[in-house]
Symmetry: C2
Subunit: 347 residues, 2 copies
Amino acid sequence: MVARISHPYLTVPVQLRRSSATSSSPPPAPSSLRRVTKPAKLSFKTAAAGSAASADGGAAGGQGPAMDFPYLSPAHRDLMLDLLSDTESRLGPHLLPSSVPPDVLSFQSDSGNCKGSLDIRHGADGSKRCSSFLTGDGIFYFLSAGGFDPAVVAALRAALRVLDITTLFAYLRPESDAPHLLVEFIQNGPDSLVLFIDLLPRRDLVLHADYLDHFYQQSSLEKTRQGLESAAEVAPYRSSSLYIRSVLSPTAIAVGINCGAEGARPLEELMRELVAGAAKEVIGVWLDRCALAEREVTEGDRTGLVARDDLIKRKTVEIDLSANLPRLFGQQVASRVVGAIQKAFGI
Amino acid sequence: MVARISHPYLTVPVQLRRSSATSSSPPPAPSSLRRVTKPAKLSFKTAAAGSAASADGGAAGGQGPAMDFPYLSPAHRDLMLDLLSDTESRLGPHLLPSSVPPDVLSFQSDSGNCKGSLDIRHGADGSKRCSSFLTGDGIFYFLSAGGFDPAVVAALRAALRVLDITTLFAYLRPESDAPHLLVEFIQNGPDSLVLFIDLLPRRDLVLHADYLDHFYQQSSLEKTRQGLESAAEVAPYRSSSLYIRSVLSPTAIAVGINCGAEGARPLEELMRELVAGAAKEVIGVWLDRCALAEREVTEGDRTGLVARDDLIKRKTVEIDLSANLPRLFGQQVASRVVGAIQKAFGI
């Protein structure tokens, strides 16, 4: 049985092979693969920065996200935790604690083939900055058979793992018109990855040349994009969704990384040595120029911004989630997860 | 001496070599290279369609453009004439005759190194369709030495020809919000070409998903782009100008064609067999869905469209012409040509 995910960031729909041996009551996932909801003590900070979390969970601005990306490879997980740590340490005072219920923070399909996790943190009251800060991680396995040695099951799961999506969205409030942040890693094989990192424009760049100049021309974003694309294993990548192409900025990192060819560096090495640097640079620009900088927005402008932001959010949910989650996780789980995001977005 | 053109559609500025033998009073160009202003009898139709122009120049809708692209290679010239013929035969009733003075229809630098031609036709009064229809052709030679055998001069000119730009813009009136047409060929060597063909969106596609759907999703534009890019000699191309990247649609053909590698087809062959088909398909979509289709635009919408259109026109002139023409043609010629375009654009 074959399921197809038409993920908007992928040009070619990914074929998800579903084992014919799927049982109606799958065994529980091995503990190493099970989603463990951590107490909100910034465990990710411990992993990322190598420092022990304080016993009372006292990070700047309150508790951090519980997300610890349990489904990722070590280098990928280290990178995501590092990015979150960087971002959270500077945005902390502007963020409220994690606000999603446990069954959204960690969810899975009835068969256990698909697992996901989602964390959302809202901007603190009175903060003009962050509206919402979403991190998510999903992995889609397509083996559900019992009676095997756990090590064999783990190996088979790894071999059959075909799609793993890790996302970090940060939306700003209409008190600022600065771009939103998008980081999305779509790993579709052990040697290949599709990567989107961008500051999503919140104004029509054709009409607002000063906005284009300030955020994109005068920053280091284009240099970062060019640097990443200069690697032999990296090539430009075009989303199959025309809407996604329209939403991205002209300096968007939208690349495919393929480490399968002879002489290519391993994906883990590229993640550490190339991707990590590029992602940190873009997030650095976003923190400095967008999230933590003042912008003047008139009352009239604000209405237009809200309308445009709402459309981006609605389309993100529609294209990215509503189209795929029910097929992967079943209607009940999908409704719960999409509902949590819609509530966070206020749409 | 090296002059640099930072053409907005080129990522790397083209280096224009200027011979140190440049004389202050260059000889006239050989007749084969001289711009001949044809009587407005749709001579291009003869060349394109193989049919004789009528003696009285009676084409549908009046006289056609005098443009005959004197500086192009045969296959390139045939293609441009063919595209113009297709377009003009269907738009004819909506277009006024050519409206530019002879010293804009054909112009050159004092040294004779750079030659250009520009034709502009306005939409007919009462026609809701075309606002202005521009075709241009420029070639930049960098040899000006006397005393040689004319054949040697011609060979040297050909060898030193480093940049040849052919453009076709068609702007629609604000009675319609349908996309404008852009066709631009930038030949920067005997084996290489950069090509932009697009229907330029006139609305913010993030806000107007129905517009994106109608013109880009429901048409064949994406299929045409993919077909062109599937050729081994063709690769995606990114403009160095972030503004140009922002103006282009998500289905824009923006490619580099390189026929210099072993086994690659000659550029002339690709022009005939691949590029011509793609260009005709896009222009066909533009004619059917944009130039000759009705669109409902409210009075309020129209004001916004005019503002956005004016910005696109101003930026096109600023980035594409004002930055380069004075250096290539001298201030006097550049002012004349830019002035004619500004007058046509009403900016």
